[in-house]
């Protein structure tokens, strides 16, 4: 189970109104490499992870990603509040407004809704952790792309920089997790068995 803490992991205090920027950042809420997918990916993978340290790491990183979903949503909420109809039309927000008003919806910057097709849960520890390391790098690249778009918005830039740094830490931890998995396998042939499926490999 989870218990909600009524605070963001890193404070978000944005006074600027900038729906155009919000429409790029929303990709990290519901896009292909966003925080929703990250959390769901790790939460789903942990059930077949045979090594307790790695299952712990998946649980804890997935939990942190839930907190990042909330931070990304907070950025979007704050960038789009107090919008006038003129601003909605002039600042490219009309298509989103038509479907969601000012509601927060998990979608990519290009407009397509969140899809579980952008994550994997393969039931093989080597495969899943390799996916997770790639996922953290894809999220890092997306945050780098967003950083180039928000150079003139220091309050947004500061929060995105924090989120980007966490992707780097998670990549490091997943690398160590893959090392732990490898230590349990046959050093002559890592791929001889799937430790989450074949009984005779441990």
């Amino acid at each position: 189970m989870w218990i909600y803490k009524k605070a963001l992991q890193y404070p978000v205090n944005i006074t600027e109104t900038n729906p155009k920027l919000a429409m790029s950042i929303i990709s990290q809420y519901g896009g292909p490499d966003g925080e929703t997918g990250a959390s769901l990916r790790y939460l789903s993978q942990r059930y077949t992870m045979p090594y307790k340290e790695v299952a712990g790491c998946l649980t804890d990183i997935a939990t942190e990603e839930l907190g990042h979903m909330e931070m990304v949503a907070a950025i979007i909420v704050q960038l789009t509040r107090n919008l006038t109809m003129d601003q909605i039309e002039a600042m490219g927000f009309a298509p989103y407004y038509t479907d969601h008003t000012l509601g927060i919806y998990p979608q990519a910057a290009a407009g397509f809704p969140f899809t579980a097709a952008s994550i994997a849960s393969k039931g093989d520890p080597i495969t899943d952790l390799t996916e997770d390391m790639a996922a953290e790098q894809k999220a890092r690249t997306t945050y780098d792309n967003i950083l180039r778009l928000c150079k003139d918005s220091p309050d947004v830039y500061d929060v995105i920089k924090f989120l980007r740094a966490r992707e780097v830490v998670h990549f490091q931890r997943f690398g160590e997790c893959l090392g732990i998995v490898n230590d349990h396998l046959n050093s002559n042939n890592y791929y001889e068995f799937n430790p989450a499926f074949d009984n005779n490999c441990n």
């Binding site: 009524k6 992991q9 404070p11 944005i14 340290e53 790695v54 830490v169 998670h170």
Partner: protein, 83 residues
Amino acid sequence: MVKSTPAKNLAQAGIMVYDIQLYLDTHPDDIQALDAFAEYKAAYDVAKRDYENTYGPLTASSSSARDYFEWVNGPWPWEGGIV
């Protein structure tokens, strides 16, 4: 994080605890990290008290008033203005 405020102190102590927690997941026998975890957890508890005194309960279970459920009092974290 220049000026010390309840929200900044909470975030700072919180990220230290969480970062060490993730490290301990993959290094569960690192004594130095275990000591640091205990140290920063104590700092987090102090920051949590200060934060709750300013902004109200962080968790529903720490809502203790007998006349109103403080948990639902604003502000919610995404609203901003929490410093």
